[in-house]
């Protein structure tokens, strides 16, 4: 039998088009390549939603079960640092979005500036986070490592808890604060891990952007990284009220 009857003209003309060097050989057009990678990035973000989804589910259930413990424990978080971090992250999202715009409009120095700012703001976020973590370590609020329920059975001994006017929790309920702190560390830690990965990629991108790699018309990488960075921002947009704010008043 001879070769394929189905195969007809079609690819022949495409083969004669000029292909930019960044077009991978198995795509017909650069538009197809950009669409495909963009869609792949969105699908990857779907898996990220579900990954964090498991933690959010655990948080909702346990918060409903041990409401007083979660309220008292959340009072230990510092709203000032939390709000500052929210602002930092939103600003980094903004600089990232501007970076994408600079790449799209082929502004090389603008792109490098935006990426450097995003990089620095990411580091500031992690710096503030580490200050918050070290507060928790000092007060033995890290679950599993010499966890102490002192602040919750005797709030008067803890200036933060005293400032909120917390009432002492029964021993049984006070122990449940450890679950809150575990979820706090798991969720913010997983978020910070995503930040660290993002910052590492940003470092690589700054290097490449200085060489002009993203301002020659091929901006998919910057755009897709932008999607990732904004996603990380969105996770924080939900973590901030859930962990810091919603129990402030009780």
């Amino acid at each position: 039998m001879s070769d394929s009857p189905v195969i007809t003209q079609g690819a022949m003309e495409a083969a004669h088009h000029e292909h930019p060097p960044y077009q991978r050989h198995h795509f017909e057009t650069i538009g197809q390549q950009n669409d495909a990678t963009n869609f792949a990035m969105w699908l990857f973000l779907l898996t990220e939603i579900m990954f964090f989804g498991g933690l959010f589910t655990a948080y909702l259930i346990l918060r409903n079960w041990y409401y007083p413990a979660f309220v008292a424990a959340s009072h230990q978080l510092n709203i000032v640092w939390g709000s500052a971090n929210t602002a930092v992250l939103i600003t980094s999202s903004f600089t990232m979005a501007m970076g994408v715009w600079c790449a799209e409009t082929r502004r090389k120095s603008g792109l490098v500036l935006c990426l450097v700012l995003t990089f620095l703001l990411g580091l500031v976020f992690l710096g503030i986070k580490s200050i918050e973590y070290s507060e928790k370590i000092e007060k033995h609020h890290v679950p599993g490592f010499h966890y102490s329920i002192q602040s919750f059975v005797d709030p008067a001994s803890d200036p933060v808890a005293a400032a909120y006017g917390d009432k002492p929790l029964a021993l049984d309920m006070a122990r449940k604060t450890e679950l809150y702190f575990f979820l706090y560390f798991a969720m913010t830690g997983m978020h910070a891990l995503h930040m660290i990965i993002g910052i590492a990629i940003l470092g690589f991108m700054i290097f490449r952007a200085r060489a002009g790699a993203y301002t020659m018309g091929h901006v998919t990488f910057v755009e897709n990284f932008g999607l990732y960075w904004h996603f990380v921002d969105i996770v924080w947009i939900f973590l901030f009220p859930l962990l810091y704010l919603i129990s402030r008043h009780q």
Partner: protein
Amino acid sequence: MSSTIVSLPDQSTARIPKVNFLTKENGLLSWLLTGDHKRIAILYLISISFFFFIGGALAGLIRLELLTPQSDLMATDTYNKVFSMHGIIMIFFFLVPSVPATLGNFFIPMMLGAKDLALPKVNLLSWYLYVAAGMLALYAMITGGVDTGWTFTTPLSTHYVNTNVITTGLAIFIAGFSSIFTGLNFIVTIHKMRAPGMTWFRMPLFVWAHYAASILMVLGTPVLAIALVLVVLERTVGIGVFDPAKGGDPLLFQHLFWFYSHPAVYIMILPGMGVINEVISTFSRKRVFGYTAVAFSSVAIAVFGFFVWAHHMFIMGVSNYAVLVFSLLTMLVAVPSAIKIFNWAFTLYKGSITFETPMLYSFGFMGLFTIGGLTGVFLGTSGTDIHLTETYFIVAHFHFVMVGGMLMAFLAGLHFWWPKMTGRMYPEKISQLAAVVTFIGFNFTFFPQFILGTLGMPRRYASYPPEFQVLNVFSTAGATILGVGYLLPVLYLTWSLKYGEIAGNNPWQATGLEWQTQSPPLTENFTEIPIMDHEAYDYEWLERQKEKEVTSVG
């Protein structure tokens, strides 16, 4: 009407094309660094076969132990490790990647008329993740094994056992990402890489089935990943989320685990159903009956799959009201599954049926999957489930679906596409024998287990009351027949690599785009991008093409 549709080229003159994806480049590195979906599929085929035989050997040990009522072949905790590793290897390292990563990887781009999957490097990465995960799981097995069962049920896995839960958990975590990347790649490819004219409703149903399975891989697997991360943290740091003593809830783990692992059942079976579509249509020379219904039933199975997970937990202490809701929702899944079975039956009706090996395996699939599916309805009904769950009835049920269904479909697909993958035919007579032996062996092995389950023999024990021995002996005897049935293909398929008949482009006279090119295919599949100008399974179009060819040659 001849009794076969096989049309091979004249063996005295036919040759395997000199240039094809296997001969394009040589050397180990050209394989290990390849981006070619067909080569990655071959790499996957070799690795999953390796794990299948490890899992199969463990199954053999289980059946040998159960030959006698006492636990005499191995210690009871060794038995626990053996059945746990059997489940883990078979599910995460064989069934989940079996059809998608081998046949899907090889044929989805070809069926769509694309040069490759959308993300070749991610495809290769997914194979490396799979291998790394598999090695880690084997390492865990050799250094002491794990005895939690494949479900890692808390608090057993977090508080009561001291085996390699962490290593195995990490292995499955990595394997999960391998599966996510495969699914992601398929979805992007199906959306973005179709050839001109290849509309959604001209795609082969094999592609539809993989699309549905890929949705489950992308959306379900991350939840398994986070559940396993929490188990590992529970064991290492003692976080307490699954620990009742600290206020956590062990059932939460099961919710997260089954949120993935129930859809995972459909990840395993849907690609198999895709294979059956192709085989049944080709060997009855008819378009699949109710193409659109079958296509949407795949998607419906995927969507409903996310609503039913708690039926694995009816006796675990979930709320009675949740049991009612989940039981009802479970019944919904039966509808699209039944649509498929009925449509296949109608495809056969008045078709010109021939009985080549892939067709025999497909008949096996239809019968065994129907039994497996119907017994699933018993288990989805909460009343009967309370009696039957955690007995051998459930073991028989999921082996009917997974082994009788999925493995049969895998073998059907492997035989069906073997000529395309290698350019050579497998020997027909002995492979028909193997299909029949597998079917007989399978029924001997697993049908007695339904009876054992209704009599009340619990699963996961090394010993049992003596009155169950007769049926267990039947089951073990069947397992040896089944083992022969699985060894035969390895032997004759390897043999056929060198001595099989030259297959030519289209030995089955099938209509898919993958059959309209040389066997084995070229590295980028087609010399020119094809234009799809007919419906899927259009045998009249194929006839017209052949006539055109004859007249143009004449």
